[in-house]
């Protein structure tokens, strides 16, 4: 308001020509206010020069600075107004309103600028040259250089000479004139091995095994996979929910968690593991787990979906998909490359050889596929059942055809109509007024003609004669694959004594055989479909419905669930693409294949808040697809009545009606239905005019029972949010100038970081995965080997596992890292072989004794002169409490168990689970971004939104409060005490010994035995309460909470 007042002043005060304004006001202002940073004399920041007309015409990185005549559309004005945080000019202080008004007025008048270019071409190029020079300089960095081929150093020390790893470590210690610590005591080592490899305390049964055998036993234990999966879950920011405002369930996240557990237990090569997570949906030969009938590879890309996701769409609130993509780039580049690519969202990286262009090229790769749900059941899992159902349906149909043999007679119909007035609607309407058939026929012809004319504007995209989708449309799931039926196909009733539930129109019906079968239809981006609108003839129920998706914002709330049995047309108009949104598309899906099901509470009417959407019947019908330029939907051409009104003109109305019905039924019986028959047949069926009862003992009853039994044998589909890149064109992604989503620059094509892909061979996720798995890749193996080292030793050879760049820490043993990485590849990317080698090394077996010299010279133990004292991870504390108390439920896998909560919030689905989580290991607790398990948070469960290669280990009083007073800890103590007292033959000392053995994996010494039995006495003597207190005290010893 102030601004317009000033402009008004300016105009009335002096009437100047536009050129005059430029010379007298604009040019001086430019010189005074802008030239310091935007002129060839000084600097050309952001590539923008304002010392010539061509300078602002061409503009800088963000494009033209001025659009003559349009101040409101000119970037210059936007910058001057300080409206956007990231493009404020001048950056420090906004110009006075009067000066801004001068610019606005000059631009409004057409921005005449008589100055000619002073730029020399070489200077123009200077800006881009700078990055190239800088880029090449930055390539000179250890982690970008090839892995060296090194021989392990030779040593005099025999014990340390067997394992090459030890030779590197020992040599480095010697160089620093330090000695390794003596080996750890056997009990201490066993406890360490057990926690490091399985996250659980050791069981006493293994005492007689050699170290090698013990390690092999642990590696073969299924607990190993659970423990290592949890490590990887930190790296990929695992979460069961999407957080933000509503904490919606992340569909199938737990399937990904179970996939990780299986992958670690089965020692799937890291190469395969990486390939699946990056491009599992694109593998020509997916890995099928025959035992569980699972397509493992397709689960991998759930990796992308983890982390926080906002609901809504960037078309409504700009920034939603961009933030999501940023989280993916961050997770991908940290997890696999230990490189901070996300820093280049707003500008070329300040320290690394990563350009802003690189960031957006990666964004283009990641936004090419549809981000949606996939069926992870093995592809042919249901084939036998489906074949059986089809066969039974045909047999039932044949039986019914016999039952429907008897034609309708005029007299019967007349009499029936008199007693069934309520049914005489729709197809039945002519029966209400048989004397008006001639008049109705004329009306019908007129209406039919009008509908046919109106329908001329609609171009049918799906050929009604063939079960074929238009180009670019893809389907998913057996429900769609086996769902196409001819007009009038019976839907077999799944309960009651009816045979047929209804008769289906021609089209796809996901429930045609079973409403447990999943189905989805995915359209190409709207703007690629001919015509301004696309319409579909749709029906659905039980949370089958549609989701409009703007640029991968799959938690878009333009979601609808259908409740119509009779298909109805729905139109989708091309949305205006803005805010950097490259495409809008729609998906039609049963609930299991809807990536936003269940949506936030309240959006799916009839769905209870505590219903997480598992195991639901759901269905969807697609009976037509048409494109058109004018709004509207195709009209019903009323084919159903053709057989009545177009038929030979019999004087007897009831005769005509009977003939109409009989011919439709006859065609059906002969398998020759034609368009328009289904409504007639379905009306006859639903009005009870066609026999539909399976008489007990009849052949048809047997067939129906068989059908129902076969249908009952089909399992609910397993689906996860993954990727679907079928029939999608490579995306290009708009660069956001200074990271500002409101200022879009050029469209960037798919590609990878130039520093790792100088020949630009990467064009999609599959080639991306391939490039990472090049045995000479400088980062992939190094980064993973370093993670494994850290999981075993507490600190990696590179102490910053997610950052091998300039902000990270330099490797403590660079040659060892390279040797290990090469060896890891040579041994087939096997995690277990790597782990086995490391834990059996002398380096790992050292005790925690620290020599004074070592403490002095290497206080951080970077040279590995002892094994550090480590606090149990959050999960290990909770799992140990369960294991020691005898409460641990060894069950693997499955849906997340709700954590115990003292307060619930139904709207966000934050319900409480049992205090002890049913005794399940912590990995199975629901990881809700909004409210993660409190007990684990107390012991540094990382923020679930972000990759966390290394956890914090804090040491705070609230942890003492948890161990002292948390009801779970006390419950476990009680449980343990009750178990101990079951054995009546033990005396106090024996029990204390057993407790030490279980909790600390060692015998108590004599003093301890006295101390703990004395405490027992003070706690109340040999009573259950006293034993509970003693058990609780043992849980609170630091020796229990730490291992060494």
């Amino acid at each position: 308001m102030k601004l317009s007042a000033t402009i008004a002043c300016l105009l009335t005060a002096s009437v100047m020509s536009a050129e005059d304004i430029f010379v007298s006001k604009v040019e001086p202002l430019l010189k005074q206010r802008c030239f310091d940073c935007h002129s060839h004399e000084k600097k050309i920041k952001g590539g923008l020069a304002l010392d010539s007309k061509s300078g602002w015409e061409k503009g800088g990185e963000s494009g033209p600075a001025i659009i003559p005549g349009k101040p409101e559309a000119s970037l210059l004005m936007q910058a001057l107004s300080h409206a956007e945080k990231d493009v404020k000019m001048p950056p420090k202080k906004m110009l006075p309103g009067s000066e801004i008004a001068v610019f606005a007025e000059w631009i409004r008048l057409g921005a005449p600028d008589p100055r000619v270019s002073v730029a020399k071409s070489s200077q123009d190029l200077a800006a881009s040259d700078t990055w190239d020079v800088e880029f090449h300089k930055r390539l000179d960095w250890w982690s970008l250089k090839p892995m060296r081929k090194v021989e392990p150093p030779k040593l005099d020390d025999v014990a340390w000479s067997k394992e090459p790893v030890d030779r590197f470590v020992r040599a480095a210690l010697s160089a620093a004139k330090l000695q390794p610590a003596p080996p750890a005591e056997p009990g201490v080592l066993r406890r360490r091995l057990s926690f490091v490899l399985t996250g659980l305390p050791p069981s006493s049964a293994s005492a007689s095994l050699s170290d090698e055998a013990y390690v092999d036993m642990l590696l073969q234990s299924p607990r190993f996979g659970e423990h290592f999966a949890r490590h990887w879950m930190d790296v990929v920011r695992y979460t069961d929910t999407y957080g933000y405002e509503w904490d919606n369930p992340a569909k199938g996240a737990y399937e990904y968690r179970d996939y990780l557990i299986r992958a670690f237990n089965d020692d799937i090569s890291f190469a395969q593991f990486l390939r699946e997570q990056i491009a599992g949906d694109l593998l020509p030969r997916p890995r099928i787990n025959m035992a569980s009938q699972t397509n493992e590879s397709l689960i991998g890309p759930m990796f992308y979906h983890l982390g926080e996701h906002r609901h809504g769409s960037s078309l409504m609130f700009n920034g939603i998909h961009q933030e999501m993509v940023n989280n993916k780039i961050d997770a991908f580049s940290k997890a696999f490359l230990a490189t901070t690519v996300a820093c280049a969202r707003c500008h070329d990286h300040k320290l690394e050889a990563v350009s802003q262009h690189d960031y957006y090229a990666l964004a283009a790769i990641f936004t090419t596929p549809r981000w949606t749900s996939r069926v992870i059941d093995a592809p042919n899992k249901n084939d036998a059942a489906i074949a059986k159902l089809k066969e039974l349906r045909a047999a039932i149909r044949a039986e019914v055809a016999v039952a429907w043999k008897k034609p309708f007679e005029r007299g019967f119909l007349k009499q029936w109509a008199e007693t069934h007035g309520a049914a005489l609607k729709g197809v039945g309407a002519p029966l209400a007024a048989p004397d008006q058939l001639t008049q109705k026929a004329a009306e019908w012809r007129k209406a039919r003609m009008a509908a046919q004319n109106a329908n001329a504007i609609f171009k049918l995209l799906a050929d009604p004669a063939r079960a074929q989708l238009p180009h670019g449309w893809v389907m998913e799931g057996d429900g769609m694959k086996h769902g196409f039926v001819e007009e009038g196909t019976p839907l077999i009733a799944l309960e009651g004594d009816a045979v047929i539930a209804r008769l289906l129109p021609r089209g796809w019906h996901t429930h045609a055989l079973s409403s447990k079968l999943p189905g989805a239809l995915r359209m190409p981006p709207e703007h690629l479909i001919p015509g301004r609108f696309v319409s579909l003839d749709l029906a659905g129920g039980e949370f089958g419905g549609q989701l409009v998706i703007d640029d991968h914002a799959f938690q878009n709330e333009t979601i609808a669930f259908y409740t119509n049995t009779i298909p109805a047309w729905r139109s989708f108009g091309d949305a205006e693409l803005k805010n950097g949104v490259q495409q809008v598309t729609a998906e039609f899906a049963t609930s299991s294949l809807n990536p936003n099901f269940p949506p936030r509470t309240g959006l799916a009417k009839g769905l209870k808040n505590d219903d997480f959407g598992y195991d639901k019947r759901s269905w969807l019908s697609v009976c037509g697809i048409a494109s058109h330029d004018k709004a509207g939907t195709p009209q019903d051409e009323q084919n159903a009545f053709a057989g009545l009104y177009d038929a030979a003109d019999s004087p007897d109305a009831w005769q005509r009606i009977a003939a109409w019905f009989n011919s439709a039924v006859t065609r059906w019986r002969e398998g020759k239905t034609q368009p328009g028959d289904q409504p007639v047949l379905d009306w006859l069926h639903s009005s009870g005019l066609l026999p539909n009862k399976a008489e007990p003992g009849s052949r048809i009853a047997t067939l129906v029972a068989e059908y129902r039994s076969a249908e009952a044998g089909i399992g609910f589909p397993r689906t996860v949010n993954s990727m679907d890149q079928r029939e999608t064109a490579p995306a290009s992604y708009p660069l956001n100038v200074r990271g500002n989503v409101d200022v879009t620059g050029t469209l960037v094509q798919p590609g990878f970081l130039k520093m790792l892909d100088p020949k630009a061979r990467v064009s999609d996720r599959l080639t991306l995965a391939d490039s990472l798995l090049d045995p000479e890749h400088p980062l992939t193996a190094r980064v993973y080997v370093n993670r494994v080292w850290q999981w075993l030793f507490g600190t990696g050879l590179v102490a910053t596992p997610d950052d091998f760049g300039r902000l990270g820490v330099m490797p403590s043993h660079p040659e060892l890292l390279d040797w290990l990485a090469r060896e890891f590849i040579r041994e087939g990317w096997s995690t277990k072989k790597l782990v086995r080698r490391l834990v059996l090394s002398q380096t790992f077996r050292q005790s925690g004794l620290v020599a004074d010299a070592a403490r002095e010279r290497d206080p951080e133990n970077r040279l590995l002169h002892h094994y550090p004292t480590r606090r149990l991870e959050a999960e290990a504390i909770r799992d140990s409490l369960l294991a020691i108390s005898g409460r641990l439920d060894p069950q693997h896998y499955g849906r997340p168990v709700l954590p115990f909560r003292s307060a619930e919030d139904a709207a966000k689905r934050l319900f409480s689970g049992p205090l002890d989580g049913h005794g399940r290991r912590s990995i199975y607790l629901q990881m809700s971004i909004m409210d993660p398990p409190k007990f684990l948070v107390g012991f540094n469960l990382p923020d679930l939104k972000l990759p966390a290669g290394r956890r914090d280990v804090t040491n705070v009083p609230s942890q003492a409060l948890i161990m002292l007073n948390d009801p779970f800890v006390n419950e476990m103590a009680k449980c343990w005490a009750a178990g101990l007292l079951k054995n009546k033959d033990m005396n106090r000392e024996d029990r204390v010994r057993q407790m030490f053995e279980r909790a600390l994996a060692r015998e108590p010494n004599a003093a301890e035995l006295r101390r703990w039995t004395a405490a027992l006495q003070d706690f109340g003597g040999d009573t259950p309460d006293a034993w509970e207190r003693l058990a609780h005290a043992l849980f609170n010893t630091k020796e229990f909470l730490y291992y060494r």
């Binding site: 405002e245 925690g848 909004m930 409190k934 207190r1029 010893t1037």
Partner: protein, 463 residues
């Protein structure tokens, strides 16, 4: 800065402190060493009005809205900092405004009690946010970044100044069983040591998780004695004794917290007139919760807690308490009833005790509400708006009875003196004796600040 009587730290405490992450500044504060600048205040109480109270119905009088009520706002009034489109209509405030106190500050009848302390309020009416979305604005308000992933202001204050009471945490959130949009991250310590994350004190039931001893005192002491012997031996056997010693020390602190925290949370001993002043006697459950928490807030700052935050109770299933997209007449009134009396009581009670000078009361939501609505009706509401909204500070050296900044005549955008949350953060820290550019923590390769690379100390607001 007044010298504190408890500042004599033993070397052991300092070491233990270092293990639990005290900043150097905190040690200086505890030792009575001057901070970055003269500290006017020692504590902050943040009344977080979650959901976004309407500025044009509280502190920002706009008669034009009544005059043009029902008229389309037009494309010129559309902003992406507002849920807006040209077809929406202006919506006059259902509440009357009056000038209050000696200062004549405008406060609407929505807040009859706060109106009575108008002369203590320093209202900023020109707040500008970044996005009209709860999650982002909440995180911006708390952490200075719309994406969060940074410490909450309470954690920064705790980190920077430490606690004055070693039995109590430095940052306490008096919660009403409510997780605001943006999640618990709003109260998190992020990359600062975990000891600076908020300790949650509940309105209903047990105030703090695990604070009530499981065992009777004699048993617990016996357990701790047993542990002391056992752990000392273990510490001697390990390579990293200081870690174990730190853990042992934590048990000592935890033991003391068990009695200190409930003692402060227990308001039963407060005189009846004080309890009434806050509204603890209210028949409305939610008002009772809020009043209890406000009274606890005073007791906590008296006991030396640096930063106390009070969240709003949610009385329905709404996304956040003040988020009235519809039913603003009914539900803004209800939110006001729940909070107004207690906030006013807190200010006047602190004042009477002479504590208001050293305590800042900050009253702020994460956004304001649109001065327009899709359609005028009895049940209409206001939507998200960050293009000029109101917050206030009281005490701690802020000027009273003043309003700073202006929105345009419709309350739809800032007309003069825009203020962002970084400016408020910088000013709050300044009043606490901390230079926001110097309170830093090295993380991710750079020196991180609450105010990131922004923020201006607003001397216009302080006496």
């Amino acid at each position: 800065m007044q010298p504190h009587d408890h500042c004599l730290c033993s070397r052991r405490q300092i070491l233990a402190g270092a293990a639990t992450g005290f900043g150097m500044l905190a040690l200086r504060a505890m030792a009575g060493v001057p901070l970055h600048c003269r500290a006017r205040a020692k504590n902050i109480i943040f009344c977080f009005m979650d959901g976004g109270p309407s500025h044009v119905d509280t502190f920002d009088l706009k008669p034009m809205l009544k005059k043009f009520e029902g008229k389309a706002i037009g494309s010129g009034a559309v902003s992406k900092r507002s849920q807006s489109n040209a077809g929406r209509v202006w919506f006059g405030s259902p509440w009357e405004f009056k000038q209050r106190g000696q200062s004549g500050l405008w406060v609407s009848e929505l807040f009859p009690h706060i109106a009575q302390v108008a002369d203590k309020l320093c209202v900023v009416r020109s707040m500008v946010g970044e996005l009209p979305l709860h999650g982002q604005q909440n995180l911006l308000l708390h952490t200075g970044r719309i994406l969060g992933q940074a410490p909450s202001i309470g954690s920064w204050v705790s980190y920077g100044l430490g606690t004055e009471n070693r039995n109590l945490p430095g940052y306490v959130v008096l919660n009403n069983d409510w997780v605001p949009n943006g999640g618990l991250e709003n109260f998190g310590s992020s990359f600062l040591p975990a000891s600076h994350q908020a300790t949650m004190v509940r309105a209903k039931g047990v105030p703090v998780d695990n604070i009530a001893p499981h065992d009777e005192a004699v048993i617990q002491r016996r357990k701790l004695a047993l542990l002391a012997q056992q752990d000392a031996e273990f510490a001697a056997r390990t390579s990293d004794a200081p870690i174990i010693e730190g853990a042992i020390a934590n048990y000592e602190t935890a033991f003391r917290m068990q009695s200190a925290v409930p003692g402060i949370a227990d308001i039963a001993g407060e005189p009846e007139y004080i309890r009434r002043l806050y509204g603890v006697d209210s028949t409305d459950e939610h008002q009772r919760f809020y009043a209890t928490q406000a009274l606890r807030a005073r007791r906590l700052v008296e006991a030396g807690v640096r930063f106390v935050e009070i969240t709003c109770p949610s009385f329905d299933g709404n996304n956040s308490p003040w988020d009235q997209h519809g039913q603003i007449r009914q539900n803004h009134a209800k939110n006001a009833r729940i909070t107004d009396q207690s906030v006013a009581a807190l200010i006047s009670d602190l004042d009477q005790r002479g504590l208001l000078d050293e305590t800042i009361v900050l009253w702020a939501g994460e956004m304001g509400r649109t001065p327009h609505t899709p359609k005028i009706s009895e049940t209409c509401g206001r939507d998200h708006h960050v293009n000029g909204y109101s917050i206030f500070m009281a005490g701690g050296g802020f000027k009273g009875g003043m309003a700073f900044g202006e929105t345009d005549e419709f309350g739809n955008s800032v007309a003069s003196d825009p203020v962002d949350i970084h400016d408020i953060h910088a000013t709050l820290l300044h009043q606490m004796g901390v230079d926001h550019e110097k309170l830093i923590f090295r993380h991710g390769g750079r020196d991180q600040r609450l105010t990131d690379v922004h923020g201006r100390v607003m001397r216009e607001l302080t006496a």
